[in-house]
Symmetry: C2
Subunit: 351 residues, 2 copies
């Protein structure tokens, strides 16, 4: 069951069989037909290892993710996969497995094993060693998500996205706007949250609106985290210092709490929505909530958001590295699209 069998059966040479199978020019059509037929009959299956050894090309690209079970990563992987499949490449997945994962081993033992021809890194922040180790492989590389020094990157302009969100809220008349962001421990994502927060702060400052520090809350980029953050923001202490009198049952009075919350992800926004509902705060009547992502759940509940398309980003990234594998110059990748989708969770602030 190798190329040789086909050669002997057809009475041709291995070389010709190889050429025929790969559809190279300069092989008689009849020969191609014959070879193909025999290969089929014999149930021939090419060995990627042998081909890889001979050519130095594995026809596979590695995708490195912090974790898989998060909306953004899963979607992005899907996009990368789609493009790879189109090109006849396989996708080998390197899951760093969150903070608990044995990241080091993952790196050395596998990713560098020339099993792949290129790497797509999903919003990773690498340390010095990792960076230089990867550089050493001379593989085409690109990162999706936060910009990483020295590497090409595809992703939305997070600062601009935050500005858009703030602009929407400001336009509706809001001035008391809180932010829910923070780090995603599981995701090991660092740059993106910072850029969104800075974008928020800058936009607010640009509009001359003050943001009390206590209105910058950590939602851990998760639904549960968002719910907790929402609880803190809406029921806990308001804008000011710790204890306040007359706020009945520990609940922030309407005049003290924000009239809008900008969340750095839809999942957190959904959490905030949950918190609001639990506290009996009407949305968007008493509180506006806006997220980032374009998560399906958000659509179902009518969440206003700045939607991005991680799948498209995955495709873009895959195309980029594939082109580079084929010898193209790295080239610049344009920023990914993000569009404001106004739905039912934002409206004018209460009077």
């Amino acid at each position: 069951m190798g190329i040789q069998e086909i050669a002997t059966v057809t009475g041709l040479s291995k070389a010709t069989v190889s050429r025929a199978l790969r559809g190279l020019p300069s092989v008689a059509d009849t020969t191609v037909d014959h070879v193909r037929r025999v290969a089929d009959e014999l149930g021939y299956v090419p060995s990627s290892a042998a081909a890889g050894l001979a050519t130095g090309r594995q026809r596979a690209v590695g995708v490195v993710v912090p974790v898989i079970d998060r909306w953004f990563y899963a979607k992005a992987i899907g996009g990368v996969d789609a493009e790879l499949r189109r090109a006849g490449y396989d996708l080998v997945l390197y899951n760093l497995g969150g903070p608990g994962g044995d990241r080091d081993r993952a790196f050395r033992r596998s990713m560098l094993r020339h099993r792949v021809d290129a790497l797509v890194l999903l919003s990773l922040v690498l340390d010095e060693t990792e960076r230089s180790e990867l550089e050493l492989t001379r593989h085409p590389m690109i990162v999706i998500g936060g910009p990483t020094p020295g590497l090409r990157n595809v992703g939305v302009d997070d600062v601009a996205v935050a500005a858009t969100a703030v602009g929407h809220l400001l336009g509706l008349g809001h001035r008391r706007i809180a932010y829910v962001g923070g780090q995603d421990e599981a995701g090991m994502n660092v740059a993106v949250p910072f850029r969104r927060r800075d974008g928020f702060l800058d936009a607010m400052a640009g509009a001359g609106v003050h943001v009390p520090p206590s209105w910058l809350v950590d939602g851990r980029f998760s639904f549960a985290g968002g719910a907790a953050a929402g609880g803190l923001l809406l029921a806990g202490s308001g804008s000011g210092s710790g204890a306040r009198a007359g706020a009945g049952a520990g609940s922030a009075s309407a005049s003290e709490r924000p009239t809008a919350v900008f969340c750095a992800s839809d999942e957190m926004a959904l959490g905030v929505l949950l918190a609001a509902r639990r506290l009996g705060i009407a949305v968007p009547g008493e509180l506006s909530v806006i997220g980032i992502d374009g998560h399906e759940y958000g659509a179902a509940v009518g969440l206003t958001t700045i939607a991005q398309d991680p799948e498209a980003q995955g495709r873009t990234a895959a195309c980029a590295v594939l082109a580079e594998v084929d010898g193209a110059r790295p080239g610049v990748v344009p920023p990914a699209l993000a569009t404001l989708v106004v739905r039912g969770t934002t409206g004018p602030p209460p009077r």
Copy 2:
């Protein structure tokens, strides 16, 4: 940058270097140290292609999924990955890409290219051709999810799970129980939904409780689908025939609609919860809702569910095929665990 370099630098033979690198016995400890050191200095990275060619083992296993961006699949992949990494295996992902994916090509061109030593199939239903094509590769194989004729399988006992859910509801006093299930088009999952529905129907019949056909609703295994199904069930026509008078605003009167809904997935249950909220139906006061899965979102909103652990299932599956790759007899895989987690969405029916 091959094994040869190390050989010349150390003054040893390729054979010894190879042995040292792989930690085989019968190599002097000093030699091993020396080789390792030199390899490190040279930044040596083994070629999996060459090793694979020589041994016939790729040290990689393929994971075939209908789609990646679904809770169950993402979690399960994570589990498989964890186990593979432990064993020093790589994971190559074959995403069938939903109904739109070019399934055929995915099969022939890649999966069979002996790039992997074994296959883990995630709740797939294969047609004849696919089955026999896979058989032909003689690879160890296992499926996670619905049982598939001729293949080992890991997963919960869906019939039992459904019975547990029904038991819980019945125990609370419910008799008017509806079911939200249906097919997950994206997931291409067939057996599981049927088994859960049948389990539900059997359990109900066993308890002598009638289920009107209109109380079997399709929720497409998604949040949005669940919300739609919930709307239909709770606001649309009740148990009986189409139009009814006096049901005000097209809403099913409390006496006609179910007092409990069993959903074949947590995502659908969350959708039903959303529908109930929109209709102003109190949960669990007027309506109990139970799901299956153990989704994080469910935990956050207090959804009662039968939790399963897809990650553990992934690990189990990986272990099983890995063992088989190492020459072990296939062996029987015990059913995966599923545990009733009672939270706040189920309670006694309204009087």
